[in-house]
């Protein structure tokens, strides 16, 4: 460890390691090498977990570890420097997973005196962690166990004597090891990958942080000049200055549906004739009360909504976001925006990833449509598409693992389809265990390749839909999409390591790492990166994460799409007949592996590539898997 010689600004310079099995903890200094080679956030966590987790461990066993980690920009005034990342081996995908959330938790963790926290082992009893301006305490949480995430936060505010504390908490779903349980930070979610279940498996109910440390930068005048320029660009760009602030992500409902790229009825189609009722415009008119921003974000895309309809009276929620409207609304075939908002709030309270929950319900509806579920298995519910009245009861069943169907769906769509069988895998809309979010695979080939190769499975933050959706690149071609997708992977993983929000991607990229990101890193840390070595750093992290997957058994044959996306063309609407056939995918995979320097047959990074990236130790490891 060269922690005492840690030279970079931006970071606090240490992490907290908690051994839950024996209730002890210690400080872990950051090293220059870790910062230089992996920056922070996803990159740093991937390296730590690659080194510390044995391949093949059960993600819900004490052998797994959960890391909460910021990046060097958190707590500065770099726009969107608000993120907290969470990392573990995922119980959904069985590989390295990273999820990040906005809000205020990330900066507050640094103000409390740490860049991150590593949880290992398993506590005998429920506990929560409180870091109060550098003082660490592991407290009993028996009285909080069983409470929803919102009540948990309020009880903790009372107990800790202040509400000026940032709390990340699981709900009952995390305690019950629902494989897509999330972690709620304030009103934002570390949503995907089931990281709430990993925390629950360790008997950790919550993490609370508060503090007054500052985040130092190398040259305040230099960063101020840079920030003036950066904030001006946020104010000049239509997306960050006009659209995100007014409608937030739900603006995509009408946008995607107009292009015929909006998942409907479990992706049986991609054109929803009733999308207007679910649109950002309807939402703004009907339920949005005010706009909300994360720490240091001028784009303020958050929407605070109150549902006043009789059925779900008094429900307030930050959201719903586009993804919630897609999964809990359109996928289930109804168009009641108030039910979507209430359902999203319920997912947050119970602690469920709203994307997985909605897609799981839509999957069950298609099973019911095809008569693959008996009335006994559905507890007498007639699970027809369009039954908005069943969304809330179904979320409760899944979150509490109630009944046959609740328990089966709590395993995630992949495992549920394996249990239900009868050909249901054909319409289980998942990749590597993670369900598809609300962006079309069939209508955007480059993005489909991003889904197929995503180390997290069907994540919309490994590849991105933006280039093809906005016409920056041609949508209806597979040519050049290998390099296109790989460069976007690198942009995403660098931003996830810094960590900044992806939504202002027009400023950061959007097709490749830009000088703007390099300047963000250099002005906060004092590093001297240039475009070339920033890209190399991102590529190193991407290869490291791929290597993690290789050790867990992932190969080329897993870089695929749901059968529906490869065999059933879009039925109606402006993107009618679009499909990504197996041949098209194979062609793009070849391009992708070739650009990456990976073995085309297996999808394993070559020794030469890993050595070029300074990952010789990992090249040695992977020899056993070639």
């Amino acid at each position: 460890m060269d922690g005492n010689n840690f030279i970079y600004k931006g970071y606090i310079g240490k992490m907290l390691r908690i051994n839950l099995t024996n209730g002890s903890w210690s400080d872990v200094p950051l090293t220059n090498e870790l910062a230089e080679k992996y920056i922070g956030g996803a990159g740093m966590a991937a390296r730590i977990l690659y080194d510390e987790l044995k391949p093949g461990i059960d993600p819900l066993s004490p052998d797994n570890k959960v890391i909460f980690l910021t990046g060097p920009v958190e707590g500065t005034m770099i726009p969107t420097s608000c993120r907290i990342g969470c990392y573990a081996k995922s119980p959904l995908t069985n590989s390295f997973f990273h999820s990040s959330a906005g809000g205020h938790f990330g900066p507050e963790l640094k103000f409390a005196g740490y860049d991150g926290i590593i949880f290992e082992g398993r506590s005998k009893k429920p506990v929560y962690l409180f870091i109060d301006n550098g003082l660490v305490e592991l407290r009993d949480a028996a009285h909080l166990w069983g409470l929803d995430s919102n009540t948990t936060q309020h009880r903790m505010f009372e107990e800790l004597g202040s509400d000026e504390i940032q709390i990340a908490s699981i709900g009952p779903a995390g305690e019950k090891l629902v494989r897509f349980a999330c972690i709620i930070c304030g009103s934002r979610a570390l949503g995907r990958g089931g990281l709430g279940a990993v925390l629950g498996s360790k008997n950790v109910k919550a993490v609370a942080v508060r503090g007054h440390h500052s985040v130092d930068v190398p040259d305040i005048r230099k960063i101020k000049m840079f920030l003036e320029d950066l904030y001006a660009r946020f104010s000049a760009n239509p997306s960050t200055a006009e659209i995100l602030p007014r409608y937030g992500t739900p603006v995509l409902v009408n946008a995607n549906n107009t292009l015929g790229l909006f998942g409907y009825h479990n992706w049986q189609d991609e054109y929803n004739p009733e999308s207007e009722r679910l649109s950002g415009e309807t939402m703004r008119k009907k339920i949005v009360k005010r706009d909300k921003s994360c720490y240091a974000c001028p784009a303020r895309c958050g929407k605070f909504s109150i549902v006043e309809s009789v059925s779900v009276e008094g429900c307030c929620v930050e959201g719903p976001e586009y993804e919630d409207i897609f999964s809990l609304g359109s996928m289930c075939g109804h168009s009641d925006i108030e039910i979507v908002a209430a359902a999203e709030r319920l997912c947050d309270d119970i602690g469920l990833d709203a994307i997985e929950a909605g897609v799981a319900i839509a999957f069950a509806m298609e099973c019911y449509q095809r008569k693959l579920l008996t009335d006994k298995q559905t507890d007498g519910m007639q699970l027809d598409f369009g039954r908005s009245d069943l969304i809330i009861p179904m979320i409760k069943k899944i979150g509490m693992r109630e009944g046959y169907l609740g328990d089966v769906l709590a395993e995630g769509v992949k495992r549920a389809s394996e249990k239900i069988g009868k050909g249901s895998g054909q319409f289980a809309m998942q990749n590597k265990g993670l369900t598809y979010p609300g962006h079309s695979a069939r209508g955007m080939p480059g993005f489909a390749l991003g889904y197929a190769t995503g180390p997290r499975g069907a994540s919309h933050h490994d590849g991105r839909p933006t280039g093809e959706r906005t016409g920056l690149v041609q949508r209806d071609t597979i040519e050049g999409k290998g390099e296109y997708t790989a460069r976007i992977n690198h942009l995403n993983i660098l931003t996830d390591s810094m960590i900044v929000c992806h939504l202002p991607e027009a400023i950061w990229g959007p097709l490749d790492i830009t000088d703007t990101l390099v300047r963000c890193i250099n002005t906060t840390t004092g590093m001297d990166l240039n475009l070339e070595n920033a890209r190399l750093t991102a590529e190193r992290i991407w290869n490291l994460i791929r290597a993690f997957g290789v050790r867990e058994g992932y190969r080329r044959e897993h870089d695929t799409l749901a059968p529906r996306f490869m065999e059933e063309p879009i039925k109606t609407g402006p993107s009618k007949d679009m499909v990504i056939s197996r041949e098209m995918l194979d062609y793009m995979l070849d391009q992708y592996y070739e650009f990456r320097g990976w073995d085309k047959k297996t999808g394993i990074p070559t020794r030469e590539k890993l050595q070029e990236l300074g990952l010789t130790d990992i090249a040695d490891d992977l020899d056993a898997y070639r």
Binding site: P238, I243, L244, L252, L259, E281, C301, T470, G471, L472
Partner: protein
């Protein structure tokens, strides 16, 4: 010649309606439609589609009838009498 303009979200807010008939000179191109909209609705419209530092259109798609065109490459496309033009919102993220 008359074209029908369709819009939603911020652009609809500026124009005041989701569907509007617009009179353009015969032989008008997509760029002429945008010149018209900039003249008619001024800065309010301009801010929805143009980067205010570079003064250039940001990338977004435009549908003419059901065919897709790109703001980055296709602004010289000729419009025809009776065309329906839908301006997609220039939105990154999501």
């Amino acid at each position: 010649m008359q074209v029908t303009l369709k819009s939603f979200a911020n652009i609809k807010d500026v124009i005041g309606q989701s569907t509007k008939c617009i009179e353009l000179a015969p032989g008008a191109k997509l760029s002429d439609l945008f010149t018209y909209l900039n003249r008619e609705y001024g800065e309010k419209f301009n801010r929805q589609v143009t980067d205010q530092i570079s003064g250039k259109l940001v990338p977004f798609l435009i549908l003419i009838n059901e065919k897709t065109f790109r703001s980055t490459t296709d602004m010289e496309t000729l419009l025809n009498e009776g065309d329906t033009v839908t301006i997609m919102i220039p939105f990154d993220g999501g």
